[in-house]
């Protein structure tokens, strides 16, 4: 291709589309399923388990940021959704809506990031699609990724399975990803030691389940942060969740920027953080397993499930007072007061 940017012709379905797919994506994602370039991927039957299926769309701006890119979070987002059900992620399909004018080198870099992310997560990209929209009608590129995984027999993880007495564990410090993105925005730029925590969680989840096979529920703390993930669990399971402020690990630089902007770290998005709700007799083993994994070195017990304040999450502050932690209303906005 002689052009340096994606043009509308690349989306026409003709020769230029083929070239784009082969040279940007095909070269990086080569595998026996994708290489057949059929209209649909033919997958082998899956023995001994139920299927888990998920989809995630990614609209992040900027496309590249410290610690990753839209490519990484596109792969990890779906891999992690599957892992949260205890599924072993297997196959991904990706759709790219590309804005006319996106530099090809950016697209190649995104594809490269996705290939590496997929390899790190141990999944195959088996189907894909590209479309091109007019300049001004997209933010560089939007990526949607659907994924299929298999949940082994005997694993029954569900947001509705939390029970009073269960321990609530977290694997890593919160707020790094969201604050990384926010500080890249015009008018809010701070020079901070911040990078996205984007990571595939299927490996650490596998280790967790090996040590604590009766995990009741898991949730990754993406949009809306830890507060939202816990509220979703409390509502789905119709239980209360009590967490201790002192126990929640917060990324240091993110905490500082949050203080400057008046944001609560509990609501900041993450891309490598999840909570696990485990029966009390398995809590210690679970914590040990998390800490043994590189993505869980800072794992903590942050609270418990209770039968009080059903459907609500309550935080015990450092002073011993209790307050409700609601779901995020509206979007996260900096304040000066």
């Amino acid at each position: 291709m002689t052009t340096q940017r994606v043009t509308l012709a690349h989306g026409s379905g003709g020769r230029m589309t083929q070239q784009l797919i082969q040279q940007v994506f095909g070269a990086r994602f080569a595998n026996p399923i994708l290489d057949r370039m059929n209209d649909a991927a033919l997958l082998s039957s899956v023995e001994g388990g139920r299927l888990a299926f998920s989809i995630d769309g990614h609209v992040v701006s900027p496309l590249f940021f410290p610690g990753g890119s839209i490519g990484d979070i596109a792969v990890y987002g779906t891999v992690n959704d599957l892992a949260m059900m205890g599924a072993r992620p297997l196959w991904l399909a990706a759709s790219f809506i590309i804005e006319e004018g996106l530099p090809l080198k950016d697209l190649r870099r995104i594809a490269e990031d996705m290939a590496q992310a997929a390899a790190r997560a141990g999944v195959l990209l088996v189907a894909g699609d590209t479309k091109v929209v007019e300049r001004g009608k997209g933010d560089g590129v939007y990526v949607s990724v659907a994924g299929v995984g298999v949940v082994p027999e005997g694993v029954h993880i569900d947001a509705a399975h939390a029970r009073p007495g269960d321990a609530v564990l977290i694997n890593a410090p919160i707020a790094a990803h969201g604050m990384t993105i926010m500080t890249l925005r015009e008018g809010l730029n701070f020079d901070a030691d911040l990078q996205s925590d984007a990571a595939p969680l299927n490996g650490i989840v596998a280790d967790l389940l090996a040590a604590a096979p009766h995990v009741h529920a898991m949730r990754d703390a993406t949009r809306g942060g830890l507060a939202t993930a816990l509220n979703e669990l409390a509502q789905a399971s119709q239980v209360g969740i009590l967490i201790r402020e002192e126990a929640i690990p917060v990324h240091e630089a993110a905490r500082s920027v949050c203080a400057l902007l008046g944001l609560d770290p509990l609501y900041v998005a993450n891309e490598g953080v999840f909570v696990a709700v485990v029966p009390p007799e398995e809590a210690e083993r679970a914590l040990t397993a998390l800490r043994a994994h590189p993505l869980g070195r800072s794992a903590r017990l942050i609270g418990h499930v209770t039968d009080a304040h059903v459907g609500k999450v309550v935080l015990e502050t450092a002073l011993g007072a209790k307050r409700i932690v609601p779901m995020l209303s509206g979007n996260l906005l900096p304040r000066i007061c």
Partner: protein, 364 residues
């Protein structure tokens, strides 16, 4: 910064809480704070729950967004819809409901609304985009106004001609006087806003003991800061002593910040201002002086007369005057929640209604 971390020490906090209980016992006392930051901190740390049974911490008109009149909000939103205008604002204003919609909704309809951390960022944006008209929403009391004044001086010095400020700034003491003069609330003490005090100094509050016989203690924002000030205020109230004291002396001195005051006074002059809940309070607002007319959005733009109407049933005004607590508003928790706020007091963390909703909702 270890010396700041120490003001979060739970052991010191618990000690102060015990002292407050010992001092106050069963007495009925009411202290009012005048700072959205205090409203938020008291909520965040759960301080109300830890107070003696009849010690009430009231939230006064210290949230600058909450006391902004409906008309001002509507005009700010209208400004955002003027072609080529880029409206730069602090995040606090973005979800406040105007008569028809919020700034955020106006942005969804095509208005160019940008959140900035500093008014200087807005000046820089104006410099880099000479084809646009950058209008900065000036909201805030004496902590914020000097910086906005400085941004006008900076624009002037740099020859930036497309930067204006829509000033809705207000002075804090007139709001305090209005509450005390109205006599609707029995108060035993005032928790002084720590960062306004960094600018106007402890001296800015001497009128409270001298003219109203009211004790005032200037407070910082960490848990130990707030509890220390409450303890000192409790001691003054119980002993019947009307004095002005400073419990935030690492950041506040008697004379405040003279350079900031000078710059604020250079750019702004006193004007009558309309406060939600109070109507017009004479000489309580900051208007841009004629010398800086070129940076005054109200001079540059013919602001449309928008028919302004406060939401029917909304009692933000009464909440701001301390006359009712949020749950006494008929809309509280039903038609008006943080997800679907009707008035500014519910919009964000520093509003009294939002703070009430989040932690006073009974925890079963």
């Amino acid at each position: 910064m270890q010396f700041v971390e120490a003001f979060r020490d739970p052991a010191l906090a618990k000690q102060l809480i015990a002292e407050i209980h010992a001092l106050v016992g069963d007495r009925a006392l009411a202290f009012m704070e005048f700072c959205g930051g205090h409203t938020h901190a008291i909520m965040q740390f759960g301080i109300r729950q830890l107070m003696p049974p009849h010690l009430r911490l009231l939230s006064g008109p210290g949230c600058p967004v909450c006391v902004t009149s409906q008309r001002d909000i509507d005009q700010a939103i209208a400004l955002s819809q003027v072609p080529d205008v880029v409206l730069a604002t602090f995040g606090d204003m973005v979800r406040v409901p105007g008569t028809s919609f919020t700034l955020q909704e106006a942005a969804a309809e095509g208005a160019d609304v940008r959140i900035v951390y500093s008014p200087l960022d807005a000046v820089e944006y104006a410099r880099e985009h000479p084809e646009k008209q950058v209008v900065f929403l000036g909201v805030g009391f004496e902590t914020t106004a000097p910086g906005v004044a400085a941004s006008i001086l900076t624009a002037h010095a740099q020859g930036v001609q497309n930067y204006t400020v829509f000033s809705m700034h207000k002075y804090t003491p007139p709001g305090m006087r209005a509450i005390l003069d109205a006599g609707e609330v029995r108060l035993d003490g005032v928790l002084g806003p720590g960062h306004v005090s960094a600018i106007i100094g402890l001296n800015g509050w001497r009128f409270l003991p001298e003219e109203y016989g009211m004790p005032v203690v200037v407070a910082g924002f960490e848990p130990v800061d707030i509890l220390l000030a409450i303890r000192d205020l409790a001691r003054l109230a119980v002993q019947g002593q009307a004095r002005a004291e400073n419990a935030y002396n690492r950041s506040v001195v008697p004379e405040g910040n003279p350079a900031a005051l000078r710059i604020m006074q250079q750019v702004f002059e006193e004007a009558d201002a309309d406060w939600r809940g109070f109507g017009v309070i004479p000489r309580s607002g900051m208007a841009i002086r004629p010398a800086y007319r070129a940076y005054d959005a109200q001079a540059r733009f013919a602001l449309p007369e928008v028919p302004s109407r406060e939401p029917p049933g909304c009692r933000c005004g009464d909440v701001l005057r301390g006359v009712i607590e949020p749950p006494e508003c008929p809309l509280f928790g039903k038609a008006c929640t943080p997800d679907r706020p009707k008035g500014p007091c519910m919009v964000s963390d520093e509003g009294a209604c939002s703070a009430f909703y989040l932690y006073q909702t009974p925890i079963a």
